[in-house]
């Protein structure tokens, strides 16, 4: 599903976020990218989502070299990914339902079919009752679950999450982790960057240290 070949990422003026990283994540696998803060976890995920481009090496996602995509092709790659961001990036002027609807409107889904899918996704994360709520009215854990619902609403084969349990108390973090586990169990490839790898004891670990693989 994901293959990194000798991937490096250097930010100007010469800071190496990743140095010659190679690994593979198979289809249907649950992988955790672990490491200290600033180890390059977020950069690694951004390379998968074509938010950043590698300065060296090749990033293959689903057989496609996402580091060498034309600008116009990037949106179509992102539509096949479920992305959960560290800062969630919810739209605070839209309610829960509309936030989850956004990826489907972008992909041009027929509205009626889209509405069904949105409710299914909200149901899956336990927010169906709160579809009219604005994100500001939701707790931290609920906001995180809303972000997950938005990531999975287009039923991607690959789900990527950056620190999805940061700023959550232990119990809520456990609930959120369970949601990812559920998706993994129905065959979705899940890649999670987290400082708290203990939440996913069964996961395959990819450990970064100062931009290098250590495992």
């Amino acid at each position: 599903m994901i293959r990194f070949q000798q991937v490096s990422k250097r930010y100007p003026p010469g800071i190496d976020a990743l140095s010659i990283v190679s690994f593979e994540v198979a289809e249907g696998e649950l992988a955790v990218i672990a490491g200290h803060s600033g180890a390059g976890k977020s950069t690694l995920l951004k390379l998968i989502a074509a938010i950043e481009r590698p300065t060296g090496g090749v990033v293959l996602v689903g057989g496609q070299n996402v580091g060498a995509l034309k600008r116009a092709a990037v949106p179509y790659v992102r539509r096949n990914l479920g992305l959960v961001f560290q800062d969630q990036k919810l739209l605070f002027d839209r309610n829960a339902f509309e936030n989850v609807m956004l990826p489907l409107s972008i992909a041009g889904f027929p509205p009626r079919e889209a509405a069904k899918r949105v409710r299914a996704a909200l149901d899956k994360v336990g927010l169906l009752e709160r579809e009219k709520a604005l994100p500001i009215m939701l707790s931290g854990g609920e906001q995180q679950r809303l972000a997950i619902a938005r990531a999975v609403v287009s039923r991607p084969k690959l789900l990527i999450a950056d620190e999805p349990t940061a700023h959550l108390d232990a119990e809520t973090a456990g609930d959120v982790a369970q949601i990812f586990r559920d998706f993994h169990q129905v065959g979705v490839t899940v890649v999670i960057a987290t400082y708290d790898a203990a939440l996913f004891p069964e996961a395959r670990r990819i450990i970064l240290d100062h931009g290098r693989l250590t495992s």
């Binding site: 990036k89 739209l91 409107s105 041009g108 889904f109 027929p110």
Partner: protein
């Protein structure tokens, strides 16, 4: 309906919602655009009317030949004979002084004054339609007729036609210049409103991109916004000009009646109105395009 059409409809609705969401800003922008465009549009309307008036007043260029007051009818006939024989005269009409006097007596306000005069103040006259209506040929004809005996004055009607023509050309240039300047103004207004829109929608734009939105998807609502704002501003300009025309109609009619002119102010013609609307919409689109090129390019 396919996805692409649905998105166009949604973009249009979104643009309308954004216009309606800030009514005061929208009103001010529309007023600025409407008033700016009303100036060249109103100028165009007046120009068309002036051309109408000019073409009614001077059907063909003519040369008027006036005899001296003491010229006898025989002398006038001799001149008439001479003019008729000339090769460059197409048509000749003799206007006897008695006819002029009779006509002037019936004119508004002049009758009493003319009554009081001891004798007929008008000379015999000829109205000459030249074969060649070019200014140079008419000039040459006038020069030769002036040399004839008992001819007091030769007046080239083409002179004032040309002056009027030049004036109208000047007016046309002024309208085009005004339209160009204020068109740039419209682009600038749209550029700025779209810039502010992009700033307030920054979060939404960023998230949409991350969720796989194409450039077209993100830009389309802004294009609709700019085009709509231009179009509505153009419609406002049309309303302003039409209202002004309606308001001026009665006073102008009265003025025309006092001058014995058959003239009614015509409002902006349909083709001109369409051009106004198309141009304002197009310029709004252009402003949006420029603004998006500047403010959305590197995200």
């Amino acid at each position: 309906m396919n996805a692409w059409l649905t998105h166009h409809r949604d973009s249009l609705l979104l643009a309308l919602r954004r216009l309606a969401a800030t009514p005061l800003n929208t009103l001010l922008s529309l007023l600025a655009i409407g008033i700016a465009l009303a100036l060249p549009a109103g100028g165009q309307m007046l120009l068309v009317n002036a051309m109408q008036l000019a073409s009614g007043a001077a059907p063909t260029p003519q040369v008027s030949v006036f005899m001296t007051l003491d010229a006898s009818r025989q002398a006038a006939d001799d001149i008439g004979e001479h003019l008729r024989k000339r090769g460059d005269v197409r048509n000749l009409r003799f206007v006897p002084r008695e006819e002029t006097l009779a006509r002037m007596k019936t004119a508004e306000g002049l009758g009493d004054v003319i009554e009081m005069l001891p004798k007929n103040p008008f000379p015999d006259a000829f109205i000459v339609d030249p074969k060649d209506e070019s200014p140079a040929a008419m000039e040459a004809l006038a020069r030769e007729v002036r040399k004839l005996p008992r001819v007091e004055h030769v007046q080239l009607d083409s002179a004032w036609v040309r002056r009027l023509d030049a004036l109208l050309k000047f007016g046309r240039t002024a309208v085009i210049l005004l339209a160009a300047l204020l068109g740039v103004g419209l682009v600038a207004i749209t550029f700025n409103t779209i810039r502010l829109q992009v700033l307030t929608q920054r979060a939404e734009i960023e998230v949409s991109r991350l969720l796989g939105a194409t450039d077209g998807y993100i830009r389309r609502p802004f294009y609709y916004f700019g085009t709509l704002q231009g179009l509505l501003g153009g419609a406002l300009a049309w309303l302003i000009v039409s209202a002004a025309a309606w308001w001026l109609e009665a006073p102008i009619e009265e003025l025309a009646r006092l001058y014995n002119l058959e003239f009614a102010l015509r409002p902006l013609a349909a083709p001109d109105s369409l051009i106004l609307l198309a141009l304002s919409a197009g310029l709004g689109w252009a402003g949006a395009a420029l603004s998006l090129g500047t403010h959305l390019s590197d995200q």
